[in-house]
């Protein structure tokens, strides 16, 4: 009996089936919990799913690489999903054209704030250089941020984690912050969330309304473009040491 279970485990732990199925099951469970709590920002589905999966993998002693063999099929869909963001974006084309000036100024200031404040706070509190270079692109969507981190000398896999944490933070905190600052225009809400918290912020924004989501998607795309062009130039200034 025990050897039979052992054999099955050996099969499952070597096949991508388990990692993939587990990801989908856990995520749907997390969405169910989140809905039961009426989409409360703290009950973020990514946060719940990641916490449950990390606990399961740690308890069973399964390495991340083994899990990822299966989960990569989900990870792969980030590409086509990014392309698909063109559709909600197109639906807001009219409003977008009217706001293009203010959007670009807000994007530039927001993008600089995201990278600059993260590196400065990290430096002041004594983070290592590798961590600082990995922190800088953290407001940009995962695939772009990993590319930037590699380019400027960070650790791409650490950046991926910091990106996800940033996304969760924004998705969890944005509504409270907007209430505090009395910001109610869905375009403004979406755009700021997209600049700071990329795809996870965008996923949250789509929960609020389609227009909020479209502006978050726009901000995410533009911030990806801007940060990848700007960060290699700004980073030496942020890392400058006197003497």
């Amino acid at each position: 009996m025990t050897t039979r279970i052992g054999e099955i485990w050996v099969y499952l732990s070597a096949s991508p089936l388990l990692g993939l199925t587990l990801t989908l099951l856990t995520y749907q469970g997390a969405v169910w919990v989140s809905r039961r709590l009426r989409n409360h920002p703290l009950a973020n589905p990514v946060l719940i799913a990641v916490a449950v999966l990390v606990t399961l993998l740690t308890m069973t002693g399964t390495p991340y690489q083994t899990y990822f063999e299966g989960a990569q099929f989900v990870h792969f869909l980030l590409g086509p999903a990014t392309v698909a963001l063109a559709i909600p974006l197109y639906a807001q084309f009219g409003r977008l054209k009217r706001m293009v000036g203010p959007l670009l100024v807000a994007l530039l200031i927001g993008s600089l704030t995201a990278a600059g404040s993260a590196v400065i706070v990290g430096r002041v509190l004594g983070a290592s250089d590798a961590t600082l270079y990995s922190l800088a692109p953290k407001s940009v969507t995962t695939p772009i941020a990993m590319g930037i981190a590699e380019h400027i000398g960070g650790l791409p896999s650490l950046t991926a984690v910091l990106v996800i944490l940033t996304g969760i933070l924004g998705a969890v905190g944005a509504q409270g912050l907007y209430a505090l600052l009395k910001i109610d225009d869905p375009a403004v809400r979406g755009f700021a969330l997209g600049v700071a918290s990329h795809g996870i912020g965008t996923a949250r924004a789509f929960q609020l309304s389609e227009q909020t989501g479209a502006f978050a998607a726009l901000a995410m795309g533009l911030n990806g473009l801007l940060t990848s062009a700007m960060l290699p130039l700004v980073m030496p200034l942020l890392m400058y040491r006197m003497g």
Partner: protein
Amino acid sequence: MLSAITLLLLFQLVGEVVTRFFALPVPGPVIGMALLFAALAWRGGPSEGLRKTANDLLQHLSLLFVPAGVGVMLHVHRIAEEWLPIVSALVTSTFLTIAVTALVLRGLHVHEEQQK
């Protein structure tokens, strides 16, 4: 649905080729998004099938970040060692960025609307 997925993959593929050919710092899918947007503007909007497939895919956008998020287990050691600067940097920067971006955008936008 099949043709819509094929179309999305095709635009991603063209994006990947373009970004590599011109050695751009931007990932292929983002170029793919820009190209699809241009195509939609040229054609006057998406077909019903493409609209529906994109909607289905984007509804579960959060799911797609889970595999990368689980990667946190690879960096437990570093995060435990540098938790204070990392957590402070993430929290400060995320909320400051949202607030600054939203206030700048609202300020400029309201100003423009009033001038009209």
